[in-house]
């Protein structure tokens, strides 16, 4: 096995930032939710890589928890999006901006 941990770390870092970028530039709230999932997943990659490097299972178990939390967030988020679509007819995040000032 010759892949340095750094490579995984770098990949996960890039994926994390791409996820952040998705939240910053997309207006479709479903895609924003997906981007947040991508952020969580990049963290998972880092966890697994470190777990492998430390030869400890801890990191793998943590991923398990992160996936569970991700699922919970998706459930809440999607039902919120459905309810917003019902009342407004679209899910454009920029149109949800009545509260300001």
């Amino acid at each position: 096995m010759t892949i340095p941990t750094n490579y995984f770390l770098a990949l996960s870092g890039v994926l994390f930032i791409l996820g952040v970028l998705g939240v910053l530039i997309r207006r479709n709230s479903i895609v924003i939710l997906m981007s947040i999932e991508l952020m969580l997943n990049s963290a998972n990659l880092a966890f697994i890589a470190f777990a492998r490097a430390f030869e400890a299972h801890t990191g793998q178990v943590l991923v398990f928890f992160v996936i569970a939390v991700g699922a919970a967030e998706v459930a809440i988020g999607l039902s919120m999006i459905v309810s917003i679509y019902r009342s407004r007819g679209n899910i454009d995040i920029d149109q949800i901006s009545q509260l300001k000032g």
Partner: protein, 484 residues
């Protein structure tokens, strides 16, 4: 797992289990008698406080260091359970008025409180993360509780949820990096690795910063605060009351424990930037509040500024001589802030009308004539939030500033003093409008609400005059394994 483990986790277990049971019981309670659910929720939190009180000053680790019990956690758990009880009392009449009565409200509130209670004990980053989610997810839902009748509530929920999930993404990634740097997620173990010098400082620092960003979002410090005014404004007021105190206290519990017990050395490296965040928060929160016409938005900025005051303790804990004082000052201030702030929200709830009106500061005109008691209470809360002696807020601020001065952060102390002078401007505007303008405010008077107001007003006043017992309690609350 042993009985001892369970004993330590008892407050959390009671609240969470009670919430699960209540979820089922509520199904059998008819819609017009949801007051019973509220009462049961209060009872649950009451029970949960018993083990806290019984073992207030014990120090224990449990579940392999996942949770710890110490004076710090006990103090915060008591505070949070109290906040939960008061939030139920505030919500009861409000929900009926706004016609959003659902038994799940109290259940979700209980779940959120269970997350806060767990957060106070968190001894491991994974618990920090899970407790944070457990306290936040119900709050996301509660923010949207009035969504059917009020699109603003829906908007608040969406904003809070998206940004909250975004922030927790940062926390998770931060935890991953901290794990990568130290090979562990247990807070004390992180510190052991750190002082033994085998950690990777770069990874650890970046991880700490990412966690700081995520928790900074929860407690609403600048520049992670932007969600606060919109969410506080849109969410049902009774939820906002809980959010402004409970979520903040939970976030600070994690921040303080992490930076003191986990990586004080990193905190020392970051001290200048922590000072900067605190100063910016104080300035922004206090100045932006001045331009607000809506009292909920004003209170939102006020809560940002108070987060700034407590955040001043973060760079102060770097010095191990000052750390105990800093912790007790933060705890005391959290308590005082909770009492005064919940009281103020109680008054806001009493004035909010069924159609969601009555939230402009101008709507408070004439309150001094119409309802002197309520106006007096509000004036007291405002004075306490400014920090005018001899109210509780003054003692709290005094104590905070003293710690800041002890830590030789004169500049920060100056910013704190000046901004609290500025804050008088917007808080007193409410007082002026109440007493010096005539109007016809519609005031709701209800047993639970009034009881809460009496209690908080009395607390605000008495804690200003006899802060001794609480100060003693706060100063005896060491952190596990660190401060005696």
């Amino acid at each position: 797992m042993t009985t001892a483990d369970l004993n330590v986790a008892l407050p959390f277990i009671i609240v969470a289990a009670w919430a699960c049971i209540l979820l089922v019981i509520d199904l059998f309670i008819p819609a017009d008698r949801k007051g019973l659910t509220a009462l049961l929720a209060v009872a649950g939190m009451g029970f949960a406080s018993i083990p806290v009180l019984l073992r207030f000053e014990e120090s224990n680790r449990a579940f392999n260091g996942m949770i710890v019990q110490d004076g710090f956690s006990s103090f915060l758990q008591l505070l949070l359970l109290g906040v939960g009880v008061i939030s139920v009392a505030l919500a009861y009449d409000y929900l009926q008025r706004r016609k959003i009565v659902k038994g799940e409200y109290y259940t979700l509130l209980l779940f959120s409180v269970s997350g806060m209670v767990l957060m106070a004990q968190a001894g491991d980053l994974i618990i920090v993360f899970l407790a944070l989610e457990l306290l936040s997810v119900p709050l996301y839902v509660l923010s949207g509780f009035a969504a059917k009748s009020n699109p603003e509530s829906e908007e608040a929920a969406m904003k809070y949820f998206l940004l909250g999930a975004f922030a927790s993404g940062f926390i998770v990634y931060g935890i991953a990096l901290v794990y990568g740097a130290t090979g562990t997620t247990e807070i004390e173990a992180i510190h052991n690795v750190l002082i033994s010098g085998v950690s990777n400082l770069g990874l650890l620092t970046v991880g700490a910063v990412l966690i700081l960003v995520g928790l900074g979002f929860k407690v609403a410090v600048v520049p992670f605060h932007m969600w606060t005014p919109d969410v506080y404004d849109g969410a049902p007021s009774s939820v906002t009351a809980l959010m402004s105190v409970g979520a903040k206290a939970g976030g600070f519990a994690a921040l303080l424990r992490l930076f003191l017990a986990g990586f004080p050395e990193i905190a020392a490296n970051l001290a200048p930037i922590l000072v900067g965040v605190a100063a910016l928060t104080l300035i922004w929160g206090n100045i932006a509040a001045i331009a607000q016409q809506n009292i909920k938005r004003m209170m939102a900025y006020s809560s940002i500024s108070h987060a700034g005051y407590i955040f001043m303790m973060l760079p102060a804990i770097v010095d191990s001589d000052i750390a105990p004082d800093a912790i007790s000052a933060a705890l005391f201030y959290l308590f005082v802030y909770a009492v005064s702030n919940l009281g103020a929200w109680g008054v806001i709830l009493a004035l909010e009308r069924a159609d969601g009106g009555g939230l402009s500061i101008d709507d408070y005109a004439g309150l001094g004539e119409r309802n002197p008691g309520l106006a007096l209470a509000m004036a007291l809360f405002m004075l306490s939030l400014i920090g005018v002696p001899p109210t509780a807020g003054f003692i709290g601020k005094f104590f905070l500033f003293r710690v800041v001065l002890d830590a030789n952060m004169i500049g920060l102390a100056l910013v704190g003093v000046i901004t609290s002078l500025i804050s008088a401007y917007y808080y007193l505007r409410v007082v002026v409008v109440m007493y010096m303008r005539s109007g016809d405010p519609q005031v709701r008077s209800e047993r639970w609400l009034n009881a809460t107001l009496w209690l908080t007003a009395l607390g605000t006043f008495l804690l200003g005059i006899f802060p001794g017992p609480l100060l003693n309690l706060a100063s005896r609350t060491g952190l596990f394994g660190l401060v005696p």
